[in-house]
Amino acid sequence: MSEMLGTEIAHAAGFIANETPRIVTARFDYEDSFTLERYEITGGYQALRKALQQAPEDVHKEVTNATLLGRGGAGFPAGVKWGFCPPGVWPRYLVVNGDESEPGTYKDRLLMELDPHQLIEGCLIACYAVGLSQCFLYVRGEMAVAQERIARALNDAYEAGYIGRNILGSHFSVDIVLHWGAGAYVVGEETALIESLEGNRGMPRLKPPYFPASIGLYGQPTIVNNVETLSNLPWIIDNGADAFTNIGTETSPGTRMVAVSGHVKRPGVYEIVNGTTTFRDLLYGQDMCGGIRDDNQLKAFVPGGGSAPWFTPDQLDLPFEASQVGPQGSMLGSGAIMVMDETTDIPAAALTLTKFYAHESCGKCVPCREGGTWLEQILRRVVDGRGSRRDLDLLIEVGETICPGDFPHAAVPSKGIEAKPFPYKMTTICFVGPSAFAPIHSALTLFREEFEAKVAGNDDRVLIEVPVNV
């Protein structure tokens, strides 16, 4: 029997367990966590049965009461988002955003590879609650193993009667279609995701409407939810909204998955208590990252994925609570923390992000398409020691064409610099353009001396170079 149940392993690749309550990673300890057998003997599909006993609007209400914040980046409450579907417009669709590709973000892939049935059950609960008649599960193209695990899980769940016509003998019927992406970061933006799903180039749609809940796939009301968000639903329905809100804080309840990478002793994916856990707990806690590698000093960290303005040791005591992180100049985003120790070349580190966003610009908005490319070119020559002092101002000038006005940044008490709150204004449809500027703005604001050292002694003329790698 024990063989059939699989063997327990310490942790999956990248995942590190700690004492935190485990809502979405509870099955990660099992080697066969991705199978229907394991899912069923660990309480799987009980939440679906329970939901089917209730009226759809009561299930919706439960999710709204749980204040389940979207885990994709924007942090918008899922239950409220569901409520944006205009009444009387049918059909409505569910699109699952499994196109995880924000730099530093590594959690949805684990959830898809290690517990695909949990995600599928979450999709079914959402479809039942909001009256969504078809579900498209969009998995990032570069994730072959996740695609395999989900395909197998879907096939097994169809066979077992959890998906399809008259699910578990009820009136509830829905198909879930697995769909792969093909390599484009911008498709993580929900309207670009919909364009891609319609067979088009994955370019974000003009806003308003701000939410595809009003006009989405094929012009119909469409809910786009992140993988981790949906993976929370079985637990919430099983245990109730109250149990969920008893964990974490009132405004940021439950747990959330975070990936810590870079210069820490134990880089890994952790499930942490939302709202109360601080960056210091995460980076220095002995049950978490255990401190900076080689006991070096922490220099800076990106708190919420490559798009987020940077923090320094001065912000370590902030908790994972958007209402506190925002005024301090950044965002929690997709739960990705990238850590830089004292040995880091800050301008070069910023370049690894700026070149990412310049590369991933879809080309629809001019400030991003042109500005992102120029930001990369100018920063590259500064990093290579070919830049001038004027280049440092030029970087800000180009950035301000993408994000006019104050750009958010952290406080630097030692230099008398006060924080500028999140968010920023932008001249682009989506956040790719601003994200090319964010690392440059943070690095220049917090570590200007490192940039000045790179251009010291150079001519003050600005060398105009026509970019060739567009």
């Binding site: 730099p103 973000t105 879907l154 769909h179 093909a182 990478s261 870079g262 880089p267 850590v339 690894t352």
Partner: protein, 203 residues
């Protein structure tokens, strides 16, 4: 002469039926074409256009937006080394340098024997396991120079356990005819789904 094999033509039709609009099958069919040939040929795009009811220019438009679709042949094994921040902080540049030397090609190049194509890639969602790479979109974690060489040797054996470029998931979704709901075009659906109606009837 059709581009898709008989088996893939059948699969293409099955895939198209899953979507309320055929055009949504464009990316899945481009993947299927790449799986069959290792890259996306013009003949493939022309046939996909017919299958989803659009022009081949439209298919090229979609195809050329996405980096995974190769419009010229690549190596049997596509090696993508991540170069974004977390991997860069943990030595991705050194790994890339080593890879270029070991393979004798620059990033973007293919070895003369057609075995390997080397590319610098963006974040692969394995940031805690840096530096990482993918071989035909299968991850390798915390790769050292020695491990890279060992990987090349392993991939040069007849059956290294990694499918050839073009093959993504080796498990296909199959929606059984007997319990599929089916996909109607949205304009043919004007009423709420039946389980919502049922609830309203009861209340």
């Amino acid at each position: 002469m059709s581009f898709f094999s008989d088996e893939n033509t059948r699969l293409a039709e099955e895939i198209i039926k899953r979507y309320p609009k055929a055009r949504s099958a464009m990316i899945p069919l481009l993947h299927l074409a790449q799986e069959q040939e290792g890259w996306v040929t013009e003949a493939a795009m022309a046939e996909i256009a017919e299958l989803v009811g659009t022009s081949s220019a439209e298919v090229l438009g979609t195809c050329s937006f996405y980096e995974m679709f190769k419009r010229e042949p690549v190596g049997k094994y596509l090696i993508n080394i991540c170069t974004t921040m977390s991997c860069a902080l943990m030595g991705a540049a050194d790994l890339m340098q080593h890879a270029e030397k070991a393979l004798g090609v620059k990033s973007g190049g293919t070895t003369e024997d057609g075995m390997f194509t080397l590319e610098g890639a963006e974040c692969q969602a394995a940031c805690t396991e840096a530096p990482c790479l993918q071989v035909n979109y299968r991850h390798r974690y915390r790769v050292t120079a020695d491990e890279f060489d060992a990987m090349l040797a392993e991939l040069s054996t007849p059956d290294p356990g990694v499918p050839e470029h073009g093959v993504l998931s080796q498990i296909r979704q199959h929606i059984p005819e007997k319990n599929t709901v089916g996909a109607l075009p949205p304009e043919e659906v004007n009423a709420p789904p039946v389980w919502l109606n049922t609830e309203e009837d009861q209340s």
